[in-house]
C-alpha cells in the first residue's frame, strides 16, 4: 500500500480546536498503533491489514505529525499527546484497548498506561523512547530553531532519507516506503511542524514515569530490534525488568523500524501476545440487559 492509499483510508476527529487524522480498520477488540518521529501512522501500513482481520485497528497521526493538525497552537510533548489520544479514544467510544507504541509513540503509550490505566488493556512497546535514552542527536538537532530556519522541505527530505536508511533499518527498504514515511513533512508547513515536534522531545516526560513503571498492572510485551542503532536493546531489557510481568523479545535482523525489517516475526509476536495475554479489565462490563434496564435488570 502506498502512502496515498493509506491517507485515503484516514478519517478525522475534531478535538476542540485541534484535529487528529486516523485509520480505523476492521472490527473486534481495539488495537491502537502509535507511531514515532519522524514518521506517521503509515508506519503501520505493513502490518495493519493483517491485524485488522480479527481486531479493530486504530492508527492515529499524533498531533503535529502526519496529516493531523500541524498548526502552531499546542504543546506536542508526549504527555500532551497522551491526553489527546485519550480524548480521541473517548470520542470513538473505545473504553480500553491494546496500545502498541513505537519510538515516541512508545513514550505516549507509557504515559497512557500510567496516567489513564483504564484505557490500556494490554501494552506493547516497540523500540520505545524511555528513561533518558532520547532524544537522539539527529532529532535534537532538527529541533533547534536555527536548524529549522536553514532548512527547506527539499533539504529536509535529503537530510532525513539517508539518515533513516542508515540508522533506522537493518535491511534495505524501498524508496516508496521512505518517501511515504516522510511525505507529510515535504512541505513548508510539514517541515516546520516536524521541527516543532522535535523540539518537544523531552526526557523529563519519560524519566517521570520511571518510578511508576513498577506499579503498572497491565500485560506488557516489549519488542525490540536487535540491531537498533538508535535506541539500543538494553533499554528494552530494562523496561521489561521494571514493568511487572513484562516479557522482552529481541527480534533478530531488525533495526529501529522492526515492523519493516522483520514484519513476519513482529506480526507473529504481536498475534501471540493478543491471543495469550488477557487484557486487564478495568471497567466492569455491563451486560446487554443492564445496558437496557440499568441496575434493575431482570435476571
Amino acid at each position: 500500500m502506498n502512502w496515498r492509499e493509506w491517507q485515503e483510508r484516514q478519517e478525522v476527529a475534531e478535538l476542540g480546536n485541534r484535529f487528529l487524522s486516523y485509520v480505523d480498520w476492521g472490527s473486534g477488540p481495539p488495537v491502537v498503533l502509535l507511531h514515532g518521529i519522524p514518521t506517521w501512522s503509515y508506519l503501520w501500513s505493513g502490518i495493519a491489514q493483517g491485524l485488522a482481520v480479527s481486531n479493530r485497528v486504530l492508527a492515529p497521526d499524533l498531533l503535529g505529525y502526519g496529516f493531523s493538525d500541524k498548526r502552531d497552537r499546542f504543546d506536542r510533548s508526549i504527555a500532551r499527546q497522551a491526553e489527546a489520544v485519550e480524548a480521541w479514544l473517548d470520542r470513538l467510544g473505545v473504553v480500553d484497548a491494546t496500545v502498541v507504541g513505537h519510538d515516541v509513540g512508545g513514550g505516549v503509550a507509557l504515559q497512557l498506561a500510567v496516567r489513564f490505566p483504564q484505557r490500556v488493556g494490554r501494552l506493547c512497546l516497540m523500540d520505545s523512547v524511555c528513561y533518558d535514552a532520547w532524544p537522539k542527536g539527529l532529532m535534537a538537532q532538527l529541533g533547534t530553531p536555527g536548524m529549522a530556519r536553514r532548512l527547506t522541505p527539499e533539504r529536509l527530505t535529503r537530510f532525513l532519507t539517508p539518515a533513516l536508511k542508515r540508522k533506522g533499518f537493518a535491511t534495505p527498504q524501498t524508496a516508496e516506503l521512505l518517501e511515504g514515511l516522510l511525505a507529510p513533512y515535504a512541505t513548508e508547513v510539514g517541515m516546520v511542524s516536524l521541527s516543532r515536534d522535535a523540539v518537544a522531545l523531552n526526557t523529563n516526560h519519560t524519566l517521570e514515569l520511571a518510578s511508576k513503571l513498577g506499579h503498572l498492572a497491565v500485560p506488557t510485551l516489549v519488542l525490540w530490534g536487535e540491531k537498533d542503532g538508535l535506541l539500543p536493546a538494553k533499554f528494552g531489557e530494562r523496561l521489561a525488568w521494571d514493568i511487572p510481568g513484562a516479557r522482552c523479545v529481541k527480534v533478530p535482523q531488525a533495526g529501529h523500524f522492526l515492523m519493516w525489517d522483520a514484519p513476519h516475526a513482529v506480526a507473529m509476536e504481536l498475534f501471540d501476545f493478543l491471543e495469550r495475554a488477557a487484557p486487564v479489565n478495568h471497567v466492569p462490563r455491563r451486560s446487554v440487559a443492564e445496558e437496557l434496564f440499568g441496575s434493575e435488570a431482570p435476571v
Binding site: 480546536n17 500541524k70 527547506t152
Partner: protein, 299 residues
C-alpha cells in the same frame, strides 16, 4: 516577464519577516500567499506597501469591501454549471477535511488580496486611492487567526512529480504570471482532485461571458479599492526613492491584478462544488480594545 523569486515565510528576514507577521495577524490568515511573497522580492517596496495599506486592511470597511467582492463572485458563478470535481475523485474523509479547509482559507483570503493588489496598482499608476479619513477613526477588526482556519500547506512550485510539474506549467500559461497561484499549489496536495478540477475549469475560462465577468469584477475591485477609508500613500516615485526597481514592481503588480478576477471565479466554482460550504466561513470580529488604550486614543 522576468521570473521573480518569492520569499518564503521561514526564509523571510528583517522588515519582510516583520510585515509577514503583521500581515498574518491583520488579515487573519495562517500564511502569506503567493502574491504577497512575490511582492516581498522587493523588500523596501514591500515594507512601504504595508505601511500604506495596513491602516485600511485592519478596518471593518476593508473587510466589508472584500466580503462584498466575494459575494459578487459567488453570485456570478452560482448559475454556471456545477464543476463536479469534488465528487468525481476518490478522496478519504481526512483528505476531504483538509481540502475543504484549504478552500475555506483561500475564499477568505483571496478577495482581500485582490483589493490590496488593485489599490497598490492604482497608487503606483498615480491614481488617488482611498478616502481622506483621519487614521484610527474607524472600527477595526480583532487581529489573529481564526481557530478553525487550516494551515497554509502546499506543494513546491517545482514539484518532483513530472505530471504535476506539467499541470502547473499549464496553469501558469493559462492564468498568466508571475507564478503558480497559491490555491492551486494547495489543492495539488491531492493531485487527482487538482487535475480533475483544472480539466473542467480551463475550457470555461475561454468563454466570452467568463471574460466579461472577470472584467466586471476587476472594475468592482478597483471601485472598492478607491473607496477605502484612508488614503494609500504610495507612488512610483516613492518606490524608486527607496531604491527599488519601480517599473518591475509595477509590472508584477499589474500581472497579479490582471489574473486575480479569473482566479477568483475559478475559486468560487471549486468552493460551490463542495457540499454545505459556507460562503463566508471566517467572519471578522470587532476588535476588543482595552479601556486604557481606547482612553489613550481618544485623548
Amino acid at each position: 516577464m522576468a521570473r521573480v523569486k518569492q520569499v518564503s515565510e521561514h526564509g523571510a528576514e528583517g522588515g519582510v519577516e516583520r510585515v509577514y507577521h503583521e500581515l498574518r495577524r491583520t488579515m487573519r490568515v495562517t500564511g502569506v500567499d503567493v502574491s504577497l511573497r512575490t511582492w516581498a522580492a522587493y523588500p523596501r517596496f514591500f515594507v512601504a506597501m504595508w505601511e500604506a495599506m495596513e491602516p485600511n486592511v485592519e478596518t471593518r470597511a476593508f473587510e466589508e469591501a472584500a466580503l462584498g467582492l466575494w459575494q459578487e463572485v459567488l453570485d456570478s458563478t452560482v448559475q454556471w454549471e456545477v464543476l463536479g470535481a469534488w465528487n468525481a475523485v476518490t478522496l478519504g474523509p481526512s483528505q476531504r477535511f483538509h481540502a475543504r479547509g484549504a478552500l475555506e482559507l483561500y475564499e477568505t483570503m483571496q478577495p482581500r488580496v485582490l483589493l490590496m493588489v488593485s489599490a497598490v496598482r492604482m497608487a503606483l499608476e498615480g491614481q488617488v486611492v482611498g478616502q481622506s479619513g483621519a487614521l484610527g477613526t474607524l472600527e477595526r477588526l480583532e487581529r489573529g487567526v481564526p481557530s478553525r482556519m487550516a494551515a497554509m500547506e502546499w506543494v513546491a512550485e517545482k514539484p518532483a512529480d513530472a505530471a504535476l510539474r506539467s499541470l502547473f506549467a499549464d496553469i501558469v500559461k493559462t492564468v498568466g504570471p508571475p507564478g503558480v497561484p497559491g490555491e492551486y499549489r494547495a489543492m495539488a496536495c491531492w493531485p487527482s482532485y487538482l487535475e480533475t478540477a483544472w480539466r473542467r475549469l480551463k475550457p470555461r475560462m475561454k468563454d466570452e461571458d467568463f471574460q466579461e465577468e472577470a472584467d466586471r469584477l476587476l472594475e468592482s475591485a478597483r471601485r472598492r479599492a478607491r473607496a477605502l477609508p484612508y488614503p494609500v500613500a504610495l507612488s512610483r516615485e516613492r518606490v524608486a526613492a527607496l531604491g527599488e526597481d519601480a517599473d518591475a514592481v509595477l509590472k508584477v503588480t499589474q500581472a497579479l491584478e490582471r489574473r486575480s478576477p479569473a482566479l477568483l471565479l475559478n475559486l468560487s466554482r471549486m468552493v460551490q462544488d463542495v457540499p454545505d460550504m459556507l460562503r463566508q466561513p471566517m467572519p471578522g470580529a470587532s476588535r476588543l480594545v482595552p479601556d486604557w488604550v481606547a482612553a489613550e486614543e481618544l485623548r
